[in-house]
């Protein structure tokens, strides 16, 4: 597709995007609410979106499915106040809906498998009902303009103008970075066209291409995106991506995952940790030589405490009492 057509398509999408934006007021409310308020907070929305990403990746769904699912989720949450306990059902239905319109039918995971892997407590019919609700509220048919739409367009435009640079600007990497941003609710407040442009710019800056930077500037002018707005989001994107790329990892949250093992495996776990019945025998001090009183050499290593040891079927003390006293004498510094 030649440059002119691409720019026209860009314009078209730009005009459309406003229809697919989540309500600002609703979203801001979530972004600012404290956790455990009886309502959805930013933190639990972000955690849910990360789960969606895990599921997307696990089932081999495309980034498009993920971005669309997040778009549906954010729009729904901004519009309807729901209880936190329903959030998993809402998010999973968004994913399922997005997958149905994006993925091929043979790659579509059935809803009960989705629920099982997602370790959720509701049923497949619950999911179906929720899908209907979401679709109705959002008037969703099969399409939405998202940041990914713009990202793809920008990428093609950038490449069509500088064909020799095909290898340097990786769409996959940009998509991964978009995914990382979408895991934070604050980026859903940005207009998709602006967010995608901010991502494109930082990608171009990373490969230091003057040509492509100029192209990005043209796009910005074409869409009449304000400098201030672009700058604002570019800064936020940069911060988010530096966290994403940092070698420090976030500790995985094990508590939320269920580890179900079969009965036989569960029985045999940690079967080796029995306390042994036989008391420890300390090694002799100077290599084992015969001595008149065998216990003296045992004392000199001063290794283990003897007082704790009693054999399982012993009636008397393991070591005779007079030697206990001797040991105490040895301990005095």
């Amino acid at each position: 597709m030649d440059a002119f057509k691409l720019m026209k398509e860009l314009r078209l999408n730009y005009e459309q995007e406003v229809h697919y934006l989540p309500k600002k007021t609703g979203l801001s409310l979530i972004a600012s609410s404290v956790q455990d308020d009886g309502r959805i907070s930013a933190k639990c929305r972000d955690a849910r979106v990360e789960d969606l990403w895990s599921l997307t990746s696990f089932f081999g769904y495309s980034t498009q499915t993920f971005v669309l699912a997040v778009n549906l989720l954010d729009r729904f949450l901004a519009m309807m106040r729901i209880q936190p306990k329903h959030l998993s059902c809402v998010s999973l239905s968004c994913l399922h809906m997005a997958a149905k319109v994006t993925e091929e039918e043979c790659n579509l995971t059935p809803s009960d498998e989705l629920i099982r892997i997602g370790q959720c407590r509701f049923t497949a019919s619950d999911l179906e009902r929720m899908e209907k609700i979401v679709a109705q509220k959002l008037n969703f048919k099969s399409f939405a303009v998202t940041a990914l739409t713009f990202l793809h367009l920008y990428h093609r435009i950038a490449l069509s103008h500088s064909a020799d640079r095909k290898e340097t600007l990786s769409l996959e990497q940009l998509e991964a970075q978009l995914k990382a941003c979408l895991c934070r609710i604050t980026f859903s407040l940005a207009k998709p066209s602006v967010l995608a442009l901010a991502l494109l710019r930082q990608g171009i800056e990373a490969v230091r291409s003057e040509d492509m930077l100029e192209i990005a500037y043209h796009i910005q002018k074409h869409l009449k995106i304000a400098d201030s707005e672009l700058l604002l989001w570019s800064e936020r994107v940069a911060r988010c991506l530096s966290d994403y790329a940092s070698p420090e990892c976030s500790k995985p949250d094990h508590r939320r995952l269920q580890w179900i093992v079969s009965r036989r495996t569960a029985q045999n776990l940690h079967s080796y940790r029995n306390v042994p019945e036989l008391p420890t025998i300390p090694e002799g001090g100077w290599g084992e030589s015969e001595s008149e009183d065998s216990c003296e050499d045992g004392m000199s290593s001063g290794e283990e405490s003897l007082s704790s040891s009693l054999g399982s079927d012993a009636e008397g003390p393991y070591f005779p009492l007079h030697l206990h006293r001797q040991k105490q004498h040895l301990r005095v510094p």
Partner: protein
């Protein structure tokens, strides 16, 4: 009209095949003994007064007389012979047990040889041969010692004697010598688990008290194990000996002597290769972990040894190895972990992909171990690439849904640990898969063409042989 009579119970049929033990049940004796006495006149022992009934000065001598009486051995295979005398010996032994436990001043120097003699007469015997070569320690019931009513009391008595406050190893060592110990060790091959349990306690006490015998005992145990591993694969007392070794290893002084390290590498590690590992694995694993707690620098050779001997065809053993490995990882130092993480996780990656669900499950469960997780997190850039391909593949291909769910947990943990690396690997994996499927599609076309050519040339050959003129191809 009756249904065909069946002689063997159907309860033990598995898949229509009866278990070996059921087939053998009718012929097998449940008890045996090699304490045979020649048929002859019945044994007569003059009943002696009770120790508590005689004044203290006379007790030591009476004690010796009773010991001497107990040297007489009875035939328990013949259940009807000498019943009265058997009972007399039993009650005498009982009395001696109590006497040794509570009394003072009874242990004269003369008593030592008599005690050792009495014990030797009773316990040292050639063990009866195993019922057949097919004795499967895991499945079959052991043959119990028929003379246990007396034998148990003799062991009980000996242990209390050893533990008595008056016991002096310096005197006893003249009688409890290497020859005694050697015979004792041979008894560990007894099929009777109760006997082995007593022997374990006896040897443990002897090892503790007789420093001069320690090196000898260790050497003999060495030999027993080596013979077991490399020659016979038969010995019933491995678990008990390992339990004793556990308490010895626990008491090792630091730095560890070279002899002990050799033992670990040359004996304990190879013990893992034996077929009947399940009978003593818990004790073996305990010994290994104790060694590593004493000297963490041994971790690398131990793990490499386990990896070298990793079971290839026995899944039950694989599960045991995985359990032991987790125990080792529980105590591993981070610096040691880094040294062996590559070969280790290559093996874990193979286990995770195992079609045997218990093996896969056990391996995946490592990710539920907090300490192991922390080690993986620190080294995720090395470990994730090793594990990734298997995990991703089995998430799509494994037959067992529970395994798929566990894999999700593991992948999710990795995702959170190191997002950038995870995304890179995902992208590479997908493009590799795409290329592979393209290649294989092309390959299929090539091979189809090849087989077509082969068929044609084959026909040509046949035609040529029938000399029907030139082929059309």
């Amino acid at each position: 009209m009756s249904s065909a009579a069946t002689t063997s119970p159907s309860v033990d049929k598995v898949d229509g095949f009866s278990r070996k033990s059921v087939r053998k049940a009718k012929q097998k004796r449940s008890q045996s003994s090699s304490q045979f006495r020649s048929q002859g006149k019945p044994i007569e022992l003059t009943p002696l007064p009770l120790l508590k009934d005689v004044p203290a000065p006379e007790q030591p001598e009476l004690f010796l007389k009773k010991l001497q009486q107990c040297c007489t051995v009875f035939d328990f295979m013949d259940t009807l012979s000498d019943l009265k005398m058997k009972e007399y010996k039993r009650s005498t032994l009982n009395e001696l047990v109590d006497y040794v436990t509570v009394s003072r001043g009874y242990l004269t120097e003369q008593a030592y040889p008599e005690v050792v003699k009495m014990v030797s007469h009773n316990i040292f015997r050639t063990l009866p041969p195993s019922d057949s070569n097919e004795f499967d320690p895991e499945e079959d019931e052991p043959t119990l010692e028929a003379s246990w009513p007396h034998l148990q009391l003799v062991y009980e008595f000996f242990i209390r004697f050893l533990e008595s406050q008056e016991f002096q190893p310096s005197i006893a060592k003249k009688y409890i010598d290497q020859k005694f110990v050697l015979q004792l060790l041979e008894l560990f091959d007894s099929e009777d688990p109760r006997e082995r349990d007593y022997l374990k306690t006896v040897l443990h006490r002897i090892y503790g008290k007789f420093l001069g015998l320690r090196a000898f005992i260790r050497k003999q145990i060495n030999n027993i194990f080596l013979r077991f591993v490399y020659e016979t694969e038969h010995f019933n007392g491995v678990a008990e000996l390992l339990e004793i070794l556990g308490s010895i290893i626990n008491g090792f002084a630091l730095p560890l002597k070279a002899e002990h390290k050799q033992f670990l590498v040359k004996v304990l590690i190879p013990l893992h290769t034996v077929r009947s590992l399940s009978l003593f694995h818990a004790q073996l694993a305990y010994c290994i972990v104790q060694f590593l707690e004493k000297d963490p620098t041994l971790t690398e050779p131990v793990i490499r040894g386990l990896l070298k001997f990793w079971p290839k065809t026995c899944s039950q053993k694989e599960v045991m190895f995985l359990g032991e490995l987790e125990e080792i990882l529980d105590v591993i130092e981070p610096t040691q972990f880094v040294k062996i993480q590559e070969p280790l996780f290559k093996q874990i990656s193979r286990c995770v992909s195992s079609p045997h669900f218990q093996v896969a499950e056990r391996a995946l469960y490592y990710w539920n171990n907090e300490y192991i997780m922390s080690l993986i997190e620190e080294n995720s850039s090395v470990i994730l690439p090793i594990m990734f391909a298997s995990l991703y593949r089995i998430s799509k291909e494994h037959w067992n849904p529970a395994i798929v769910a566990l894999v999700y947990n593991v992948l999710k943990a990795f995702m959170e640990m190191n997002s950038t690396l995870f995304d890179e690997l995902t992208a590479t994996y997908k493009s590799d898969r795409q290329r592979q499927s393209d290649d294989s599609a092309a390959g299929r076309r090539v091979s189809e063409r090849c087989s077509f050519v082969l068929v044609c040339s084959d026909l040509e050959l046949k035609r040529g042989l029938r000399s029907e003129g030139s082929s059309q191809f």
